[in-house]
Symmetry: C2
Subunit: 145 residues, 2 copies
C-alpha cells in the first residue's frame, strides 16, 4: 500500500444500513482495508493497466505503471494476488515468464469504485471552488500561516 501509515488497527466505522449493522465488524475492517489498499499510489494504477491490457508480464507492467519501482510492483501485486484481485501465472521456462491478469473479483472492485469516480466527476468543480474559497479565507484571516 502506499498512501499513509497505519500504526494501530483503529476501530472501524459501522455500516450504514440496518441489515449490515447486524453483521461482523470484520466487514467494516475489510472495507477500510480495501479502501486503504486502493488508496495507495499503485493498486489503482495496476488495476487499470490490467483492465486495459488484459494479461501482462511483470516487466511490461512495470513499464505501464509509470513511476513504480520493482519493489512496489512486486509488493502490490502480491497484495492484490493475496486478496484474489489478480491471478499470477508462472510459465516454467528460461528465462522466467510470469504474467498477471485481473480476476473477476478484481474487475468487480474496479466497477465498484466507479461510483466514487462518478461522484468525483460530478462534484469536481464544487471541490475546486471550496478549495479556492478556503485559500482565500485563509489569506484574509489574521494570525495564520
Amino acid at each position: 500500500m502506499a498512501a499513509k501509515r497505519k500504526t494501530k488497527p483503529a476501530r472501524m466505522p459501522r455500516p450504514k444500513s440496518p441489515s449490515q449493522a447486524e453483521l461482523d465488524p470484520k466487514i467494516g475492517a475489510l472495507v477500510q482495508q480495501i479502501i486503504a489498499r486502493v488508496a495507495d499510489r499503485w493498486t489503482m494504477l495496476i488495476l487499470e493497466a490490467l483492465e486495459e491490457h488484459g494479461t501482462v508480464r511483470f516487466k511490461e507492467l512495470g513499464r505501464l505503471v509509470v513511476g513504480i519501482s520493482q519493489k512496489m510492483l512486486t509488493q502490490t501485486l502480491r497484495q492484490m494476488e493475496c486478496d484474489g484481485l489478480v491471478k499470477r501465472t508462472v510459465h516454467p521456462v528460461i528465462p522466467p515468464h510470469v504474467d498477471y491478469a485481473l480476476t473477476k473479483l478484481g474487475r468487480g472492485l474496479g466497477e465498484a469504485f466507479c461510483g466514487v469516480w462518478k461522484w468525483a466527476e460530478k462534484h469536481y468543480a464544487e471541490i475546486e471552488r471550496a478549495r479556492a474559497a478556503f485559500e482565500l479565507a485563509r489569506k484574509r484571516a489574521p494570525g495564520n500561516g
Copy 2:
C-alpha cells in the same frame, strides 16, 4: 487516509467511460486525491461520526473518534473543511466554542462510498477465502519465507 505515503504525484488512471475520457486528467487526479484522503485512518471515521451526530464540537468529536490525536483531528478536519466536506463554525465566546457539521458535499461523499461498502460486504467471503488460499499456497511452496 491512513494508509501509506504519497511521495510523488504520479500519473492518474484515465476514466473508464468515453465521455470522461475527453475531460481533464485533473479529474483523475482529484479522484485519486479523494480516495487517498478517505483511505487515511481518520477521514471516514470523522465523516461517520458527523453523519451520526450532526453538529459536533471539537473535543466531543475527539471523543467520538476513538484513537485520534488532537493533531490529526485538527489536521483532518482542516483538510475536510478545505475540500468543502465539513462546515466549521466558530462561536466567539470564552471559552472558545467551535463546532463541525457535514456539508451537502460531505454527505454526498459518504453516499458515494456506499457502493464500495456494498461491494465489500458482498464479496467479503470471497476475499477471505482468497487470502486463506494464498496463505496455504505460500506454506506449501518451497523457497519462500
